[in-house]
């Protein structure tokens, strides 16, 4: 608790900025969804022929997992890309269903006699809608907006995965650094925000059910809301201009540190940097750099060849880099020089188990496979160079199906005995911190994963400072350096920015 309060007080400015971004995402998406959903709901209520498929589409949109939707939207022009735009599109899609549905329900539940009276008094269709139907359905519509906004507060936390900011930034950062305090630092304000939004709209709904607000009151409320939105949105978007080079990274500690190192190296050359760190997995970073949403991020040769280009990785590191370079060049990207370390997969077990069973290499797992449950990240389970190949090469067959889990949770899951063997990073700080043992890859199953910067060739030509910065980093980061920096952030909770700064000062 004290740790949490301390974190907030020391990050107050950043916290407020994230709350602002979060609210901006929710308010703008709910506003746009209302502007679209209200007319769509009216149409759906009038014409069931249109209404039924419309509601069906909205229902389907609701069932798509938000991360999947983000991934799907990223490569699209205009609405896609890394940043708030994609998040707003996604959040708007999610907010549409409740608004359309309650608009339809509100309009359909109106008293027939009241509508008949309106028609018989000589109201035109639009007069009936504006003077009778909408005012009477308003409480129901507001209830839908309320649901949409509250769901939006929750869903907006995921927006951090694609660089849209908001309180999810703390949650994702906390997850990747295995830092519960930081997770709570984002999750608690998000929950409070949801309660506040819910309470405020519930009060509005109550006022509307009790009495129709006077147009003047409505206008005042609308104006007030507009002022709040403008006040919130303008600083959230400020500072986006002027950035020259955009540096991205995936969503784990090492990537964030490397992103910071690249960013600060460019800044040291006099460039301005826009950071879009913590962007999600390989897929999202690759899409982002191809579409120009980011200019540079650090990739690993093995990952590039298999996951990006769906090819087989040569086991010779130089050949692997050459292959990656050729493939990237064809896509308008340049793979730079190796940074100096190889973050290949490490098959890890608990130290106690290793000593009890005398486990030294991956072959030895055949002795314990009948009782053990493996746990792997989603990517590792899917990729040909991941789990399927591993069991084939070593002739393993675990009794229990492997559990899929978020990469950032996997070390803790191993230490807390939820799973018994995991695939981790060779450079992970937690190997020592949690008393884990790395089993030797005697059959050389895992290909090389040398870290290399991947840069948009166009950006490289446009900004020579990028080349200068990267030249300085070539071969500069050893495996020992990387593990130490990971430990500083993951175990000692140092700020990745400072860790990167210290590293650059020494090199």
């Amino acid at each position: 608790m004290t740790a949490l309060l301390q974190f907030w007080s020391s990050h107050l400015g950043e916290l407020l900025q994230l709350v602002r971004q979060h609210l901006m995402l929710v308010i703008v998406s709910t506003g746009v969804a209302t502007a679209i959903g209200l007319p769509a709901g009216i149409l759906a209520a009038r014409r069931p022929v249109i209404g039924r498929p419309l509601l069906a589409i909205a229902n389907v949109a609701q069932t798509i997992p938000s991360l999947a939707l983000f991934g799907f939207l990223l490569p699209l022009p205009f609405i896609g890309g890394v940043g708030p735009r994609t998040a707003l599109v996604t959040l708007t899609l999610y907010a549409l269903l409740p608004i359309v549905r309650t608009t339809v329900a509100g309009l359909r539940s109106l008293d027939r006699a009241v509508l008949d009276a309106g028609v018989a008094m000589g109201m035109t269709a639009s007069q009936l809608l504006l003077m009778v139907e909408l005012p009477l359905a308003l409480p129901s519509i507001v209830a839908g907006v309320r649901v949409a906004a509250v769901v939006g507060v929750g869903t907006a936390t995921i927006a951090a995965a694609i660089g849209a900011g908001g309180l999810g930034e703390y949650i994702f950062r906390g997850l990747s650094m295995v830092d519960t305090t930081m997770i709570l630092a984002g999750a608690v304000p998000a929950a409070v925000l949801a309660l506040i939004v819910d309470g405020a709209l519930a009060a509005l709904e109550g006022v509307m059910r009790a009495e129709r607000p006077r147009p003047r009151t409505l206008a005042a409320a609308g104006l007030g809301a507009l002022v709040v939105v403008v006040a919130l949105v303008s600083p959230a978007f400020a500072g986006r201009g002027g950035a020259v080079v955009t540096v991205g990274s995936k969503n784990f500690t090492e990537q964030i540190i490397l992103g910071e190192i690249v960013a600060q190296a460019i800044e040291a050359e006099g460039g301005a940097v826009n950071r879009k760190l913590n962007l999600g997995g390989t897929f999202i970073c690759d899409r982002a750099v191809r579409s120009g949403d980011i200019d540079v991020y650090v990739e690993y040769t093995g990952t590039a060849v298999t996951a990006v280009f769906h090819d087989t990785v040569p086991h010779d590191p130089v050949a692997a880099l050459d292959l990656a370079r050729r493939r990237y060049a064809a896509a308008g990207l340049t793979a730079g020089d190796r940074l100096g370390f190889d973050n290949t997969f490490a098959i890890l077990v608990r130290g106690t188990d290793a000593r009890a069973h005398g486990l030294r290499s991956i072959d030895d797992l055949s002795r314990v496979q009948t009782d053990w449950t493996p746990g792997f990240g989603y990517e590792f389970l899917q990729r040909a160079d991941g789990y399927p190949g591993l069991v084939k090469t070593y002739g393993l067959s675990f009794a229990h199906a492997p559990r899929a889990m978020e990469l950032s949770l996997i070390y803790k899951a191993l230490a807390s005995r939820q799973v018994d063997v995991i695939a981790g990073d060779a450079t992970s700080a937690l190997i020592d911190a949690l008393d884990l043992v790395r089993l030797d890859d005697t059959r050389r199953y895992f290909p090389p994963y040398d870290a290399v910067p991947v840069v948009r060739t166009a950006a490289l030509l446009q900004h020579p400072i990028i080349s200068r910065a990267l030249r300085r980093l070539a071969g500069a980061i050893s495996e020992k350096d990387m593990r130490a920096m990971n430990r500083a952030v993951d175990v000692d909770h140092a700020d990745p920015r400072l860790v990167a700064k210290r590293f650059l000062a020494d090199h």
Binding site: A113, L115, A117, V119, M121, G122, M123, M131
Partner: protein, 249 residues
Amino acid sequence: MTSVPSIVQFDRVSFAYPARAPVLQCVSFDVPKGDLLALVGRSGAGKSTILKLVNRLLLPQSGRVEVEGRDTREWSGIPLRRRIGYVLQDVGLFPHMTVAENVGLVPRLEKWDPARTRTRVRTLLDLVGLPADAYAARRPHELSGGQRQRVGVARALAVDPPIMLMDEPFGALDPITRVEIRREFTRIRRELGTTVLLVTHDLSEAFALATRIGVLDDGELIVCDAPEVVAASRDPRVRKFLDTVTPLP
């Protein structure tokens, strides 16, 4: 018959909803200006359908309905309806509007200036026995059933329509209120000279209010005449209807 011109005229009107048995068959009658025609008959005899044909909520399949000498097919629905007051059994007051806003609605649709509307609303509320100072700002749910009916009548009268259609307007009231409101209604009608088509299943109401009574039986208008003529009718179908329902008070 009379030298006063008809304001509503049905000429061999038949009507049926799609794929259903006919509701009205070859119905003809005239309503002279200032008359109150009460339409009686069992439920489903076609009484309410006649009202909906007058304000063009429905159009006849054959025959002509004329309002103020013009076929309803030639009228546009909106201006026609604004010349016709309509009072329904369940009133249909707008729950989100005050009494004054309900009564002033048609004037507002007709784009009267607000001052004129306000004056008109006060006059009408006084007319139906609901003083504006006490009632104008209330909402329908704050009124009794009888008060709601009065507001319904006031609303229908707002732009001084030459014609009023009333569908069981006093049905839901207790007997004392009913007598009271009928008396007031007759006074108002005489004062304004409004032509009224009234649907009721209550024969005593028809005889108390009407200048002419039309009896509908299974879609046919079997008699349409002055109350005393209807009462003395020897037509077996008329007799059967008069004798099977509540006797006269």
